[in-house]
Symmetry: C2
Subunit: 402 residues, 2 copies
């Protein structure tokens, strides 16, 4: 067991959490030798040893003492440059950068194979909940049917303010920003991209298949209106932003990120505030539910620490499911039942509905509830981005609690 000597990239919220946690974990046999930051002179209010900080990546990459790189910077392109270079040099990496990983996972897997090294990233999906590791190691069999959950704390916090505290959307967003649960530019969370990237990573470890972001329907909560909220309240459901990957046949699965009407008997109904919750459904174990803090400095840092400790024992993802004989294929040929609210954009005539079961018009807003294929929604993606349009999934093909 070789002690871990870390080169850390990034000293933002998560980086500071890591610095604090590594210091506290007596049995981690880990030490941070160098920290690379963009601006070495920025005051940080931390009592750091002289020479710890550097603004040159090579000071870490070239340091022969360093046997693990931990990367938590917020620029996905810079992150990919650093991580891929480290892997090429055979240095293992722990990263929390979901955007970078989701966009480049096939290359990153290839780099790990080619250079016999490891990239761990459990922190990238659901912070402190060990989703990736469990999917990779424990649900390592063909019994897995579905992974579905609330993967984004910001939007969940906002929607919890709306549905549990009767706030309107704008004040809920403001509260989330004040509480530090939403960025000043919240679009990454609100548009569903954060959930999407996590879902892509989860799917690789759940089913062994990588699907590129642009192929996946991703609808956010930014256009939710008072009428939608009122409708959901009347139906005694909550609207939540849900990401899911679901086997729809032995040889096919689908995946998407969409607002969803969540009924009271579902596990994720009670995932509130900034929390994340994931339901793993399988053929024999029915449903498993994992719940915890999905973001924040220390929860994310503790997940990074788990990956660091795993490296102490030489752990790496094997991507076992990618070598399965009969991997299921991604399909968008599935029918969804959706609530579609609209104003001037005439959704009933512009979308190729298979069936419209309910239709409502009023001065406040109009909606239809109908069945439509996922492929058709993706083909009309532009329509769905209109500011007067809001869609929510109404789960029908899943039974009971999920």
């Amino acid at each position: 067991m070789k002690p871990i000597k870390i080169g850390l990239f990034g000293l933002g919220t998560v980086g500071r959490g890591i610095y604090s946690i590594i210091g506290r974990a007596k049995n981690a046999h880990a030490e941070i030798l160098r920290i690379a930051v963009r601006d070495i002179n920025r005051p940080r209010g931390l009592d750091l040893p002289a020479g710890l900080l550097t603004d040159r990546a090579d000071d870490i990459l070239d340091d022969p003492r360093i046997n693990l790189i931990v990367e938590v910077i917020d620029d996905p392109d810079a992150s990919f440059a650093i991580v891929s270079e480290a892997l090429r040099r055979g240095i293992p990496v722990v990263s929390g950068n979901k955007t970078m990983i989701a966009r480049h996972l096939p290359q990153l897997i290839e780099l790990q194979r080619a250079h016999g090294t490891a990239l761990l990233y459990d922190a990238s999906s659901c912070g402190s909940i060990p989703v990736i590791r469990n999917l990779e190691e424990y649900y390592d069999n063909d019994l897995l049917l579905e992974v579905k959950g609330i993967l984004n704390g910001s939007t969940n916090y906002i929607l919890s303010r709306v549905f549990d505290h009767d706030e309107d959307y704008d004040s809920a967003l403001r509260h989330a920003q004040e509480a530090g649960f939403a960025e000043s530019d919240p679009s990454f969370d609100i548009d569903g991209l954060d959930s999407l990237y996590k879902l892509i990573i989860i799917t690789v470890h759940a089913l062994g298949v990588y699907v590129a972001p642009e192929r996946i329907l991703t609808l956010g909560i930014g256009h939710i209106s008072d009428a939608d909220i009122r409708y959901a309240r009347e139906k005694r459901v909550k609207i939540k932003l849900v990401a899911q990957v679901v086997k729809v046949a032995d040889d096919a699965f689908t995946m998407f990120v969409m607002p969803e009407f969540v009924a009271r008997n579902k596990y994720i109904y009670s995932v509130d505030d900034e929390y994340n919750g994931v339901v793993i459904r399988g053929e024999c174990y029915d449903r498993q539910f994992m719940f915890g803090k999905g973001a924040g400095s220390l929860p994310t840092a503790s997940s990074i620490l788990s990956d660091v400790m795993a490296r102490l024992h030489g752990y790496r993802y094997e991507y076992k499911k990618m070598s399965y004989l009969d991997r299921p294929a991604y399909t968008t040929d599935v029918e969804l039942t959706v609530y579609a609210r609209y104003g001037a954009t005439d959704l009933p005539s512009l979308l190729p509905w298979r069936h419209i079961g309910e239709s409502y018009r009023s001065d406040d807003g109009n909606y239809v509830i109908g069945r439509i294929s996922l492929a058709d929604l993706i083909a009309r993606r532009g329509l769905l981005d209109a500011p007067d349009v809001f869609l929510a999934n109404i789960p029908t093909f899943f039974t009971d609690r999920d």
Copy 2:
């Protein structure tokens, strides 16, 4: 990757689940070569290949093709004989026998070390919830503060009938037996032994310390009365049978199994029916909650399958925390706040209370609520078994949701 050739011991409920699941898991590269049963002629309603069954353990132990033994028989002594013999011969074992493992874990760890082989037993604790593997691998650091949960499905099913369906205890127990969630002799579950053995195994993987069963306070639900149920309902709490291991200082932890008053804001409040739920609390990630089916043929078998798959990749528990420098020590020198209901057994005078905060006498039953040390409860263990006595823990030293 060597295909797994299994010798299976036991073809009861779980054994049949394993037989069915291994057949279904195409990518498991696993095959059952031989099944040892007590009575080879018993009709089983299964279409088994000729020669699969045997009633001689040596037919499996001596078979050079078999590279994994899966043991799910219900006799702990016979189980220990088989498992220890297999380990001595260097054959890895997957077992679901919590009683056997909890009683003999130090020897079993030593046998694994001495003979360079592996014993996996995630199925022994909480069926399909991957508690052991996560504690061993993911919560592999000194941040862990507490593991607390509902580990026994039978008692939870009974108590759910009482608190969610307003039944009395006797009819709830009868319903549990009819539904197959309680044995005809339910004492193993009801007296808390099932929870205790799981807690002992969990503690080894949570904190790296083995504590023998007889050193741990284990109180069951068998003596619960209508008065206790009424009291809990009035206070708007549920009584649940809770097992917990808790760090009480940097260098000390305590553990016990006791009925507990569970308030509505606790995660485990909503763990109902036959489900299990475990809360893992740590310094940085706050609380993680894992929830799922804790027992039953297929959930347990799917957990066994996960261990089988892990063996395909050579996985073994490293018992890393047992080699930590500063392992915390087990202490019973902690103060609990308990509700103690009694009839003729005069608990107020017979127990060394540090403080009695509430005292009630009536024709229906009497109770006190007071503070008392765990060590004193253990020393007066005999008193607590009196049929007119029922104790429940009132959690005080934990905050908020747990």
